[in-house]
Symmetry: C3
Subunit: 185 residues, 3 copies
């Protein structure tokens, strides 16, 4: 092989390596980790103290702390500590807890704003994932963001596609969370 | 061109490509996306239910839910769903909604803490941006952070420089938000 | 040196450059910045208005705004503006303020959810850091996340290991925060 063909080969390898580095770093639209989890919210209504996993802690002037407010619950702030399960069965063994808050924040439809953490403690995962985003509840699937993590999810980021999997009046709902992490360390 | 000059050329190209890659990845202080938006907040005061876009939902012991509290509103929690416009006119056609909460959190000056989402739905942008940060209201321009996004803003991050563009007593304010995204996917 | 050994050498260099790029970008488990700070929280109890740095602004139906609620304070929302110091002395000159909120969110143990900002204004650091995460208070050290920053911490991310450094009833606590930033721009 002559010096010239060597240079050409070298040049091709360089181009190849750059383009693969580029794909691998910033334009990676394929998740580096993915999982589906469910969590279950039982709202305190003044009579279910033993079973409730969440409570209204803020309300607008026209509301109170045992019934979600009029006007699509606008202004209600709810704090929660909800069990996370691998399937849609409320009685399955939890693999962690979803902890944080949601806020109803629209007057003319059901919309909430979410800030919470998945604290995972199972054989598969040890660590936390932090979620933030707007949740247009009436839309079938909606994307919120995974902004950070700890433990197995150190420095991870991504998207969570959520779906209301069940809904029973103002007392119970279950969310399906399809977590796709695009930045993994 | 001899083999020697070819190698030199190649070497120069290598250096060039590395430095540009470096700029493009981590030390990119030039935004990859930039936009200026306004949002408008009309606080519920007990009498403006039809027009209000936000409501006090938390207050310290010395406060209530229709008037911002004494001591620079320390402790007030406000939930909002504010229209976003391209210019400073409240009556312009909204391009989205700013949804989330702000908290007044200082006793001796006006300071707030922000956690909210821009839900954009225009011909230019479809997607959400999530904001978080401290807002020293009395400073002319202040930086908060864009921690994540969805849709057109998938995995984006950056800075938002905010400015109080108008202020009418405790009922209305308008914020100018200069969004500069430095990580774009 | 023959053409063959040149190719081998070249190949080795390629592998080396890839692995170092890989370590430098994504698998960097050594902090690029690190600091230890303390912050001090004095909770308003109805009688300490002058000294209090935080106040209960949300409570469940069984609570109120001057005493943390039964059931491990489940549902209490606290807004704070706490001094940050370089050592564990409450009377040391502050280098900034910790501003935001914490929420007690478990019924059967002490757990909180944190969303707050360090506003740093010292000779060493000018800028803000934003924190988010679940805080299992009874655990000796626990990790929350640094999701973003401004100023000297523009686009930074990382982990904060927190420790309860002192605790006096429901009125005072001091947290030690070991901040390790793994993404620095």
């Amino acid at each position: 092989m002559g010096a010239r063909s060597l240079v050409v080969l070298l040049f091709l390898m360089l181009i190849l390596s750059f383009s693969s580095a580029y794909q691998g770093k910033k334009k990676q639209y394929k998740p580096c980790k993915q999982m589906v989890l469910y969590f279950h919210d039982v709202l305190y209504n003044g009579q279910n103290a033993a079973n409730a996993t969440s409570a209204i802690v803020g309300a607008p002037q026209w509301g109170n702390l045992t019934i979600l407010a009029d006007k699509f619950h606008f202004g209600n702030v709810v704090v929660f500590d909800d069990p996370i399960t691998l399937d849609n069965n409320f009685h399955s063994k939890p693999v962690g807890r979803a902890q944080g808050m949601y806020i109803y924040d629209t007057k003319n439809t059901f919309t909430s704003w979410l800030g919470f953490t998945f604290v995972l403690n199972s054989t598969d995962f040890q660590g936390t994932l932090n979620f933030m985003g707007a949740d247009p509840i009436m839309v079938k699937t909606r994307d919120i963001t995974v902004v950070s993590g700890t433990g197995d999810f150190f420095m991870h980021r991504g998207i969570a596609t959520i779906m209301t999997d069940a809904f029973e009046g103002d007392v119970y709902f279950r969310l399906r969370v399809d977590i796709k992490l695009y930045e993994c360390w």
